[in-house]
Amino acid sequence: MIFILCSIFLLSCENNQDDNINETNHKRNGVASSNEVHEELLFNGETNYSKALYNYPMIGYFSDKNNSLKEEILVVCDGSERNPLTKSSLTKSSSNIKVLINGKDIKNLTMATKANNHNVFSDLYGKEVSFTLSSVMTKGQNNEKTVSMYVPELVEITSPKIETEEELYPYCYYKDFVIQWKPDMKNENGLVVAVEWYGLFINGEKENKHVRNIDVLMEDDGEEILKNTLFNDIPEQALCYIILLRGNIENIDFEDSPYSIVGETHAVLPLILIRNLKE
């Protein structure tokens, strides 16, 4: 049922065509040669993230940061398609809806970086954020809808802490893996955690396999021991990624069409998986 529970974060991992998103996602997706994703969901039940299941066009924003050393980038969706807009797709957008976030045109927000647009990020995360949709096709009519919701603070993995280039791709033992992050006590939605493997090993060998295991952490308290099964089907010395995500989502109808309103943030930890330690 929750097959696409994590489509929120997958959105920002898929097939974007230009700029930094393309560059960074190519790192993750470029090695994936298998079209079939072996996906396992470790969580059963309804969460706020289940609203992403409906596969409605997305309106909102995502923060994209592919490892701890990368710069945070904001990408947006304007409802024209389910994937985020890139700089090139922005001009081709076919959306008939004008979207304002906190009163600002959503298209002016895309590709903002945290370093250069700190105020943008501080206004969009850890705050109550308003999303206003208005029709630009209906002349003489003022059709408008506003949704407000709390969007959690930017998520940041604090342990394993990666601070230098040399620490990228740490070796991580899969059993009782403790992950820590900056908590947001106001976030009532918990977090999504996923481990993804595109088939590559440290020794350069490559399997035609794509594994994605997903769980939901109910408490945003800053620490969790991950289930060992989150690393299922990922072998020794595999280059894989832990993705930690939190956000908010509301599904609405506007002019007889459904949309998902989204504010999301995720952090990625690339790692080399270690299964066998002689102890």
């Binding site: 960074t24 790192k27 993750r28 470029g30 090695v31 592919n66 490892n67 050393l69 990368k70 342990s159 394993p160 280039e165 040399e166 990228l168 791709y169 740490p170 070796y171 991580c172 033992y173 059993k175 009782d176 893996f177 403790v178 820590q180 595109y198 590559l200 440290i202 020794n203 350069g204 490559k206 020794e236 010395q237 280059l239 690339p270 790692l271 080399i272 270690i274 066998n276 330690l277 002689k278």
Partner: protein
């Protein structure tokens, strides 16, 4: 006289068996792409080319130039496909000198961390040279394997290696 010259430098892989050595800072294959050396990997910006020239004549002097590479610079200077960085703006009549190419951080498949260095002393004036082939050497800076386990990195010496 200083003349603009391009010297093709072909960097060879460190002389280890392929299965004994691997780049880990980009999940891409092949292993030999210079984009892995010159900062195409996330966060990696330390690769550099150092050209040191000794000028001989009525007076002696030396000069050194360092190119620090990140990805955009690398692309414009080197190109995506070839393995040939260009050394520009050096005196072609210099009698001796040295070129060094230093990679960003690498690891080998025995979990050692380090970097690769390509060094070559120039034994003839650059003007008479068209290309240069340089062997790479992997230099270990950190041995052993630190594995993240139970909130900390612990040193593991007896990791099971297939």
């Amino acid at each position: 006289m200083v003349k603009k010259i391009k010297l093709n430098v072909r960097l060879k892989h460190p002389s280890l068996l392929p299965q004994d050595y691997i780049f880990t800072y980009s999940p891409e294959i092949p292993l030999y792409g210079l984009n892995q050396i010159f900062g195409d990997s996330p966060g990696q910006k330390k690769s550099k080319i150092i050209v040191t020239m000794n000028v001989t004549g009525c007076a002696s002097a030396s000069t050194s130039k360092t190119y620090e590479y990140n990805n955009p610079i690398y692309v414009s200077m080197v190109g995506l496909e070839d393995k040939v960085p260009y050394v520009e703006n050096v005196n072609p009549y210099n009698q001796s000198g040295q070129i060094s190419v230093i990679s960003g951080p690498f690891r080998d498949s025995y979990f050692n961390s380090g970097y690769v260095i390509w060094e070559k002393r120039l034994t003839q004036p650059l003007v008479s040279m068209e290309s240069l082939e340089v062997d790479g050497i992997f230099k270990i800076t950190t041995g052993g394997l630190h594995v993240y386990k139970n909130k900390q990195f612990i040193l593991i010496d007896n990791l099971q290696r297939d």
